[in-house]
């Protein structure tokens, strides 16, 4: 961290240097939302790369039937850790923790979040939980092998280190709740003069909806995880049918959190895309109110659809009907957003720079993920594709093609703002093209495999699935190649690239009205907001 501080000191006075403090402790004990945001970014992105590595290993193992590189127990641990790391340590904190922290307080015109110390505590809880999860891999009975869903009774019987891993996730959950509390309060209380609810950037709107889900749903995960620990450590028998318990109750409790968690992951991604598309089209977002409202609608309705993970579980058919119906209801606000994004392009002046390429591919990949979600939401068809590679493909389209690509868009859009340096455009486009291609080869193939009946979490498979698995694995390599190019390009650019000054993208939200990189307290004087977030009148490009 020292080296990059020195690197940027060539820049004017900004949050990297203007407190006179540098060095590790000035960062890990900083209460500045931008520093905390960057800390989150480094940590979450580090875990993303860890997860990618595990995913690539999984794909190599599945390249051919039978043993390729690891045995079944190792494979089961690999996909469990891949899921736990990607979901709890990367995607859930990825946008709110990193870009939410960096950008949101500036977007509302505040000097910091409402509770800067609590914000620091969030990061520390996150890191503590992460360390506990990592410890669980190398201690006790070894890495958990339950899948990230920790389904009982398997998770209460396996000899692997499930209790410690679950405890780590429990701690990370609190970090998420505190971030939610902080963001709701900040957005309510710290908006600058003139920053009405109708002028809030849509990224901030999406964080607001997300924050409520974080506050309301995460405690249920905490309860569920405590119940697993009671089951394992005290033998409570809550989920053990032999003693009057019920394994299906666990699934309900788990998904009551974990389905809304999907919206914690995707809503802020939609916010990023809603902020980027107008800037690169030089036009106000089409249907601002509908997009903001649909974020709230998704957060609310999305909290009531968890049962669609359980159509084959033995839950009553009435419950299947209700949850299937509600699932289709959630599709509507998502569709509204897609139509509004596409309409924003109409009669604009579109420039296809890296952030825009990632944002536009988000629309496509998210649409494929969302539409395949309809196949899963319909009761009759879900029965066939449930627990197959179709589901694996579906949620990677939404989580990686959606949230992942939105994070890449945010990295190309906002990181230069905070580093004051820019990356090279051409390698960014090459990286995007490779990732987009590899992504579709990998995950579309998975969906086909699922339609043909290949179950998920299969270490080995019948010969009839061999060709498609090989294709998917090759796709993962193309994707990885693009990722490496993107990272090298960003790293070189942000450390040694040409200066990024003023408002090169021509953004109209408040973060583009302050110096680059921002000073510690963001605004030299209290801002007064006089126009909407996508009113580009008088902003040059």
């Amino acid at each position: 961290m020292d080296s990059n501080v020195q690197k940027v000191t060539a820049q004017p006075s900004c949050f990297w240097n203007d407190t006179g403090k540098s060095g590790l402790t000035s960062w890990i004990f900083s209460t500045d939302h931008k520093r905390i945001g960057l800390l989150y970014f480094y940590a979450t992105f580090g875990f993303f790369l860890t997860g990618v590595l595990l995913g690539l290993l999984l794909r190599v193992e599945l390249m051919a039937p039978g043993r390729t590189i690891v045995g079944p127990q190792t494979y089961n641990a690999l996909f469990t850790v891949h899921g736990v790391v990607m979901i709890f340590l990367f995607i859930i904190p990825g946008i709110p923790g990193a870009f939410g922290n960096m950008v949101m307080p500036i977007q509302v015109g505040a000097r910091d979040v409402s509770f800067p110390r609590l914000n620091l505590l969030s990061w520390w809880l996150y890191i503590t939980g992460a360390i506990i999860i990592l410890t669980s891999l190398f201690s006790g009975g070894g890495a958990p092998d339950t899948g990230w869903t920790f389904y009982v009774p398997f998770s209460s019987r396996t000899g692997t280190n499930v209790s410690l891993a679950v405890f780590g996730v429990f701690i990370v959950g609190f970090s998420s709740i505190l971030t939610g509390v902080n963001f709701v309060t900040t957005i309510h209380r710290l908006r600058a003069e003139g920053m009405t609810w109708g002028r809030l950037p849509l990224f901030t709107w999406s964080l607001y909806a997300t924050a409520w889900v974080q506050i309301l749903a995460t405690p249920i995960l905490a309860i569920t995880l405590v119940l697993i620990m009671t089951e394992r450590l005290l033998g409570a028998g809550l989920f053990d049918p032999a003693r009057g318990g019920d394994p299906i109750m666990y699934q309900h409790l788990f998904w009551i959190y974990s389905h809304p968690a999907v919206y914690i992951m995707i809503l802020p991604a939609m916010g990023i895309v809603s902020d980027i598309i107008p800037v690169f089209s030089r036009k106000p977002i089409f249907g601002y109110k509908m997009i903001a409202f649909s974020s709230i609608a998704i957060a609310a309705a999305g909290s009531l659809v968890w049962g669609h993970h359980m159509f084959t579980s033995g839950m009553s058919d009435t419950a299947v009907m209700v949850f299937s119906f509600l699932t289709f209801v959630v599709a509507i606000p998502s569709a509204i957003k897609v139509f509004n994004w596409v309409s924003t392009l109409y009669r604009g002046s579109i420039s296809l720079e890296a952030p825009m390429l990632f944002a536009l591919s988000f629309i496509l990949l998210f649409s494929i993920g969302g539409l395949s979600g309809l196949i899963l939401g319909s009761a009759a068809t879900d029965v066939h594709v449930h627990d197959t590679h179709f589901v694996v493909g579906h949620f990677h389209y939404v989580m990686f093609g959606g949230t992942g690509f939105a994070i890449f868009a945010a990295m190309h859009y906002w990181l230069p703002k905070f580093y004051g340096r820019r990356y090279a455009e051409k390698p960014a486009v090459v990286a995007w093209a490779l990732m987009f291609t590899g992504f579709n080869v990998l995950y579309f193939t998975m969906q086909v495999l699922g339609m043909k009946g290949m179950p998920r979490r299969y270490y080995d498979y019948l010969p009839e699935f061999a060709t498609l698995n090989l294709v998917a694995t090759v796709g993962s390599w193309i994707l990885a190649a693009g990722l490496v190019i993107m990272l090298v390009n960003l790293f070189r650019g942000l450390w040694w690239g040409a200066p990024f000054e003023g408002n090169p993208w021509g953004g109209a939200t408040l973060e583009w009205s302050i110096p680059t990189p921002p000073p510690t307290e963001n605004f030299v004087e209290e801002p007064t907001v006089t126009h909407g977030p996508y009113d580009f009148t008088g902003i040059g490009r």
Binding site: G147, P153, I332, G453
Partner: protein, 305 residues
């Protein structure tokens, strides 16, 4: 063969897939083509300045709320209606009980016959009662679009009908541990007369001849965890097990004992009582296994040296 008095599960589900994929494809193409056209037409090289600053359009919003709503409600209704076919067993279905355990299947018929493969008569519906002895498994027949979780302590069921003779994949679809992906068997659909012969012929056989230990060990799934060549598995290897010394955890204490007939019998019937040190206590018990099968298994284990 198409003259079934009821609709098969495949015939019920496939049109829903067709309708949903068709509608999704139209929507996806619509979105993609519109987007590509807009990006090309309004690219900055052709459109240096935006020619509209529209912030929305009420009528458009109404249209693209109402139309998708109608579409998804139709999808919901169609999916739900055909789902009911999967849940409604036609009368006169052949009852079979499927027992899932880590990591094998056993199918038991009304006459007491059991088999590691699911033999069914062509053209006759089969109702499968799903029982688990340990963790949650999943009963998945891709060819028949049928899947149902097998949950301990719960009685789930599924039904299907094979309209053509053949061998169809049967997978465990709910993750259940190390050998999850090896929990694979087949549905063997036989013409009715052939099925009837199979159902009764082998039964006579079991009464007369002694059960084959090696065959049992394969069918009951023992070999999924216990190797025959000394290689480490989820459970102790059978090689050289008999009459050797084993260190076990019994009633919380660690003791060393000889692996004799009594020890093996207990380990087959109630494995949880005595666990060989270093192995997880996950083997399902077999309290109801007939004595002659237990003896045959022990004889087989003795023979693996």
């Amino acid at each position: 063969m198409n003259q079934l008095p009821f609709i098969s599960t495949t015939a019920a589900v496939d049109p829903v897939f067709m309708f949903l994929f068709g509608a999704c494809l139209v929507l996806l193409l619509g979105i993609t083509v519109t987007m590509v056209i807009f990006v090309l037409r309004y690219h900055r090289s052709r459109a240096p300045h935006p020619t509209s600053q529209a912030e929305g359009n009420l009528w458009l919003e109404i249209v693209w709320i109402v139309l998708p709503t109608l579409l998804v409600l139709g999808m919901f209704w169609y999916g739900w209606k055909e789902y009911l076919v999967l849940r409604t067993v036609p009368t006169g279905a052949l009852p079979v009980t499927a027992t899932a355990r880590m990591w094998s299947w056993e199918f038991r018929y009304a006459n007491g016959k059991s088999s590691p493969k699911l033999y069914v008569p062509v053209g006759k519906p089969v109702r499968v009662e799903l029982i688990s002895t340990d963790v949650i498994h999943g009963f998945f027949l891709p060819a028949f679009r049928v899947k149902r979780d097998v949950v301990p302590g719960m009685s789930n069921y599924a039904w299907f009908v094979a309209t053509k003779p053949g061998s169809y994949d049967l997978f465990c679809s709910q993750y259940c541990g190390t050998q999850h992906s090896a929990m694979v068997t087949t549905v063997e659909a036989l013409p009715e007369a052939q099925f009837a012969a199979w159902l009764n012929e082998d039964k006579r056989g079991t009464a007369a001849a002694r059960p084959d230990g090696r065959k049992l060990a394969t069918e009951k799934g023992c070999l999924g965890c216990h190797s025959l060549d000394g290689s480490p598995g989820v459970g102790p290897t059978f090689k050289g097990l008999f009459a050797g010394q084993v260190t076990v955890v019994k009633g919380g204490k660690t003791v060393t004992l000889t692996a004799d007939e009594a020890f093996l019998t207990e380990s087959i019937r109630q494995p949880a009582a005595t666990i060989v040190e270093g192995f997880p206590p996950i083997m399902p018990g077999n309290p109801d296994m007939p004595d002659e099968q237990v003896t045959a298994l022990i004889e087989f284990i003795k023979s693996v040296k």
